[in-house]
Symmetry: C2
Subunit: 364 residues, 2 copies
DNA sequence: CAACATCTCGTTAACGTTACCGAAATGATT
DNA sequence: AATCATTTCGGTAACGTTAACGAGATGTTG
């Protein structure tokens, strides 16, 4: 025997893995139907036998076979997904949709049907129309990306009345949805961007916060990011000059004109693009080579953004796994309705940092 | 009708989701047994009926119900896991073990039994003993963290003779294992560290590469990281002064003495700790407050490392999700043996960057 | 053409759980 | 004491797949 080594054998565990509902029934001297009633704490069981069965279940650490359950149960649950459609400006919501589709693939096996409703994030009327459509059918739950705050709040109220569960992705309206929020902590996301900023530029630098999108007033969640960003930088006390600029357009030519003016005026050392439109800024500095390129930080693993990460135009891309958010939302609903597993209160999603050196391995 | 909106209905898909083996059988005018034979391309089917059934399967895009399959199949697969035990120096392997245990939890439902063999990464004899133990039982496959290159290579050869599949985690020996490697691309990992380095320190800085561990000659994979690191920095052409120092010890007091000497001698602007021992360096500069603290980059999401990330002592922690590696290895074996799903050739694991601002949300 | 091997295919019992149906026991009302 | 309602429980078909078993058809050999 060699002096120092360690060995764990899991066989004991493997041995008593077989405790099924049938064994429990035999041990408790009841039928499997009764055990099933106890397990799913249904009625039609006397307190005495219930206690007896529960004791045996606990004693043998019975774990239900989820696959058998999934096979047996014939439910006709239906979920709705209500998110923005991908615009020509950014493929962000395609990523989310990708995760949703993965979820559909996986959960359709259980007889769950999932309908997708895509609204135009620049036109509140499409959201209203879509949310009406959702209500006109009879869904058990709905996944929502809440862009229009007041309209979404009103919609969720209506859902509550009809006992339709709701869950948010991408951004949150505090205490609104019935099941919670799956997504990043936006304030921390802003702080992280500031943290990276502090590594990129020295004291006394000029930092430009850039908000690009038509209908900016709708994107309330951007402000949370900006708060985190400026809070962090101000606390650093490095005498940064911080400017917050809005460019409320979706047209590159328009944006370029504005950007040219601001950049010439401010001469920033770093530009922080608060959403996924960072590729626009990359393109700008690609075209105006005579202008000194500042450091650039932006969001989201879109192909067009990654291109500018790859060629060194963008320093950091911060990502929040939108596809995983979509998948997790459906996964949570599935567990909420089918398994009795819903202990968790969601933690915020991880915030990923991508550079030219690690983006190749970033899969979701 | 409002002008511009989009709506995807998945109901068509939901409608014909029900194509099961039974429907296929009816449509092909054969029994379900024959369909099963075709699906798992077993023998005992004439070419004619096989073709007919295959056509109908393809036509209706039949997807097997994995849960039913899992429920039905009664296999007695057994896997072995052969990785280092967690030393007092670093909890790294506990993380991997965590993922392994999650896999055991999940796959024991299928009657797969998994045994864990932990060897001492400082004592090759324990590895030899453990690998003998593995061979003495009759496993279908083994997950290996290859620390001792020649010994592991020999062991895998023996496995191949006995038709035992093998898969590597954490680091790779090219072309050795029968099923491949699940883990990070170590060269890129080094490059990423260098990339971050370039953000932390200006030109002409002194950079110290620090290898801390007893028995350093065994950790061949560290060299791959160092290569990536130096290649990147040299190409940058910023006249960095790069020094590579080994401290082959596991004892903090010993390490501190060496470190003190080197730090006083070199006065580095940045220290790159090539493994998970970065907390040791953090502790050192916590104790020697009079010495000017350099920037510090290190590896792995260990609690002791995260502490120094949180208090600002360490700038970046690079992580490779060891628990996910462990889980994925078992997951792959499960799929390899139980599902006919093994199309994939593994992509390297993502390389995560952690700072004081995003570590809170880093779960695995 | 008898005897036997081989190829092809269908029948059916499992896997562990759920849920419907109805039987038995108990309680309540005349 | 008879009737009816309610509570408690067991039997069992079903979910989609696998695999053991055996039946029939066809081929091969003497």
């Amino acid at each position: 025997m060699i002096g120092y080594y360690h060995f764990i054998n899991m066989e004991e565990k493997a041995e008593n893995k077989k405790v099924g509902i049938k064994e429990i029934a035999k041990l408790a001297n009841v039928s499997i139907a009764t055990v099933d009633r106890v397990l799913n704490n249904r009625k039609d069981v006397s307190d005495k036998t219930r206690a007896k069965v529960q004791a045996i279940i606990k004693e043998h650490n019975y774990q239900p076979n989820l696959y058998a359950r999934a096979l047996s149960v014939k439910n006709n649950l239906s979920f709705a997904v209500l998110i923005p459609k991908t615009s020509s400006q950014t493929g962000y919501w395609d990523l989310c949709l990708k995760g949703i589709k993965q979820g559909i693939e996986e959960f359709s096996t259980f007889g769950i049907s999932i309908d997708i409703f895509l609204y135009d994030q620049e036109d509140v009327r499409t959201f209203l129309k879509m949310s009406e459509d959702v209500l006109s059918r009879n869904f058990n739950a709905v996944v929502i990306a809440p862009i229009f705050i007041t309209e979404t709040t009103r919609f969720v109220e209506e859902c509550k009345k009809r006992r339709i569960e709701s869950i948010f992705v991408n951004s949150d309206i505090k205490g609104c949805s019935s099941l919670g929020y799956i997504g990043p902590d936006l304030y921390s996301t802003g702080r992280l961007a500031a943290n990276l900023t502090s590594y990129l530029v020295p004291a006394n630098s000029k930092v430009l916060i850039l908000n690009i999108a038509r209908g900016l007033q709708n994107y309330a969640y951007l402000n949370t990011k900006i708060e985190g960003y400026t809070d962090y930088l101000n606390k650093l006390d490095r005498s940064f000059e911080i400017l917050n600029i809005d460019i409320p357009s979706n047209n590159y030519e328009e944006i370029a004109i504005d950007l040219l003016r601001h950049v010439n005026n401010i001469e920033p050392d770093l530009i922080f693009v608060t959403n996924s439109r960072v590729s626009v800024v990359g393109r700008f500095f690609d075209e105006y080579r005579n202008i000194k390129k500042p450091h650039i930080i932006g969001f989201d693993f879109l192909t067009e953004n990654v291109d500018f990460l790859a060629n060194g135009m963008v320093d950091f891309l911060i990502c929040q796994r939108p596809d995983k958010q979509g998948y997790l939302a459906l996964n949570y609903l599935y567990r909420h309705f089918l398994l009795k597993d819903v202990k968790e209160n969601f933690k915020p999603m991880p915030i990923d940092i991508l550079t030219v050196e690690n983006y190749l391995f970033y899969e979701n």
